[in-house]
């Protein structure tokens, strides 16, 4: 374990260290947090300021001969009037909200099923957790393989069935509407296990007494679920949903590997648009402005979610 020098400082140096030591309830928490905060400021704040700076200019990396100006908020203004931006924002929100919503309810349902006595539960749990263990890149490649025309398992069997029924091949990845739903399906496949795991843990930490009391009162299973399970599960739900929303919002590998934002721009999320702007068109300033806008959206989303959730929790208590 790491030695914490401030806490176990020898007595002779006490004059200085004791001011920072555990007895000082105002300063000591900051001493404990210092390493984390220093690292996060180093890795987090600098890129942020850098992006802020770049976004106020007109740098296009592939055209270094263009004279550089301080353009103020022009890049943001440009994005605000860009229909591509609004389209990508809509796709991102649809993807994030739909995927997290489905993952939450499926994960919760599964976690509740595992509350029952099930033979071989630990083996089955491993099978269920497999998608979460895979690198997102690998999961995306596997599903590209599954949807590969001809030899892919899904295209061969599901598509074959649909052809046999006379509907023709299903355009899983080539139809604009269906492509986004296919991506959501793969995201749900990949991350429901995460929800399942977090919510299983939450369920396991709920005390038994309220349930026993409800049983004596003869409350229905539905009522028990909404008045006992859900309120007591709130802390687990909060962390699972916030983390998952943040990650779904910036899903990258999945979309780039499976559709590259296509067909057309039907699955171009903000993150894919950002990658195209920055790494294909080398429009560094626009990319920086876009990334800051993305960050604002996700911060507002998480903040509102946490606030709503916390206030409800307090009411429940």
């Amino acid at each position: 374990m790491v030695e914490v020098s401030m806490a176990s400082a020898p007595a002779e140096r006490k004059s200085f260290w004791s001011k920072l030591g555990p007895s000082n309830k105002k300063v000591f928490p900051w001493v404990l947090m210092a390493p984390t905060l220093i690292i996060l400021v180093g890795i987090g704040i600098y890129p942020f300021l850098y992006a802020l700076n770049i976004a106020s200019q007109n740098i296009i990396l592939s055209k270094p001969y263009i004279p550089r100006f301080d353009v103020g908020l022009y890049q943001y203004q440009l994005l605000m009037h860009d229909p591509e931006f609004w389209k990508a924002l809509r796709v991102t929100l649809l993807f994030t909200i739909e995927a997290v919503f489905i993952e939450f309810w499926l994960g919760l349902g599964l976690a509740l099923l595992f509350q029952r006595s099930i033979r071989g539960a630990s083996v089955m749990r491993i099978f269920i957790l497999i998608p979460m263990i895979l690198p997102p890149l690998v999961a995306a490649l596997i599903w590209r393989y599954m949807f590969f025309p001809g030899a892919g398992l899904v295209t061969h069997y599901v598509g074959g069935l649909s052809e046999w029924l006379g509907f023709g091949q299903i355009p899983f990845l080539s139809d604009p509407t269906l492509a986004l739903q296919t991506l959501i399906f793969v995201d749900v496949w990949e991350w429901t296990p995460f929800m399942f795991l977090m919510l299983s843990a939450g369920l396991a930490s709920i005390p038994r007494q309220p349930y026993e009391a409800a049983e004596i009162d003869g409350a229905s299973a539905w009522r028990v679920f909404w008045t006992i399970t859900m309120p007591l599960l709130r802390p687990a739900i909060l962390i699972a949903v916030v983390i998952r929303t943040m990650d779904a919002f910036r899903t990258f590998e999945l979309i780039v590997v499976m559709t590259r934002g296509g067909p057309g721009n039907a699955t171009t999320t903000l993150n894919v648009l950002l990658t195209k702007t920055g790494l294909e068109f080398f429009d560094a300033s626009k990319a920086a402005a876009l990334s800051l806008l993305m960050m604002m959206v996700i911060i507002v989303m998480s903040f509102v979610f946490i606030r709503v959730f916390r206030s409800k929790t307090e009411v429940a208590e």
Binding site: K26, T36, I39, I118, P135, L141, I142, Y145, M198
Partner: protein, 286 residues
């Protein structure tokens, strides 16, 4: 009480009631859907090139280690495997040890700006990787950290800190303060009390969080691709480089998937009990 104990409460050793059959149907269906794609790519990894590129799914074939030979002998992928192991283990260790104290402070002390610090820590996980790629690249170039394992370890440690802090804060809150306090009344310093009383109680949660962080670090792709080239290249970018040329070579991808997932699958298989009980530890409170 752990997750396992819950079963015992609900299920006396009595034989299973047949009315539960639909639960098994659903769970087995989910197992099938979740496991089948993985099984399929693993099978493909044992095929030769011909079987892997057949125009219909091939179920019966003579397994070969052709793809493994290509990856291990010709491409030397075990070097990347070693890089991945070092980077994942080290960054997990550092992020958990450093984040643990921050989580402790957030859970134990009531100071001004606590909620703001907690939320700010979380916002560090919100920046899209592509957005911070360029500034990180430039910083690494200046500090000579490009294509080094040390660079990746520092970056991953920072990336995982918000997750560690958020996970552990909740668990620290669930451990009653008076255990520590009584240890300190008995003459222990704060750190002794922390090490002897709080840490052992937290161990299951710390283990579970470490498993999560390990999975995330082992699997990280975007930064590994841009910040490493030869010396420090980890598994995910190697898989991309070796299996995708003009077209995807599915059998090589399959073999690579076996190599990259085997340690994690084994690890989670062994640690599953700790994972579940650690995550559900909030039961120390009475």
């Amino acid at each position: 009480m752990s997750f396992q104990d819950l079963y015992k409460i609900e299920s006396p050793a009595a034989p299973h009631k047949p009315k539960n059959w639909w639960v098994y149907v659903i769970i087995l269906l989910v197992c099938f859907v979740n496991f089948m794609p993985y099984l399929w790519i693993v099978m493909t990894g044992l095929m030769d090139r011909e079987a892997a590129t057949a125009s219909t799914p091939t179920w019966f074939f003579k397994p070969t280690f052709e793809a493994f030979h290509f990856l291990i002998v010709e491409k030397g992928i075990m070097y990347n495997f070693m890089n991945s192991t070092i980077v994942a283990v080290a960054s997990t260790f550092f992020s958990v040890v450093i984040g643990m104290f921050c989580a402790y402070a957030l859970a134990r002390y009531d100071f001004t700006g606590r909620d703001d610090v907690s939320f700010w820590v979380l916002t560090n996980r919100m920046m899209p990787p592509v957005a911070i790629l360029l500034p990180i690249f430039i910083t690494f170039q200046t500090l000579k950290l490009l294509d080094t394992r040390l660079g990746l370890i520092i970056l991953y440690t920072a990336m995982q800190l918000p997750f560690v802090v958020w996970m552990l804060t909740g668990y620290f809150r669930d451990i009653p303060k008076r255990y520590e306090e009584s240890a300190m009344v008995d003459g222990d310093t704060w750190f002794q009390a922390f090490r002897k009383v709080t840490l052992p109680l937290m161990m299951p949660s710390i283990t579970a969080t470490s498993i999560f962080v390990m999975i995330l670090s082992w699997n990280e792709f975007a930064f590994a691709t841009f910040l490493t080239s030869i010396e420090a290249k980890t598994m995910p970018p190697s898989i991309m480089a070796y299996s995708i040329g003009a077209s995807i070579q599915w059998n090589i991808l399959g073999a690579a998937v076996i190599l990259i997932t085997a340690p994690l699958v084994l690890f989670v298989l062994i640690m599953q009990r700790q994972l579940i009980s650690g995550l559900s530890q909030g039961v120390v409170k009475e």
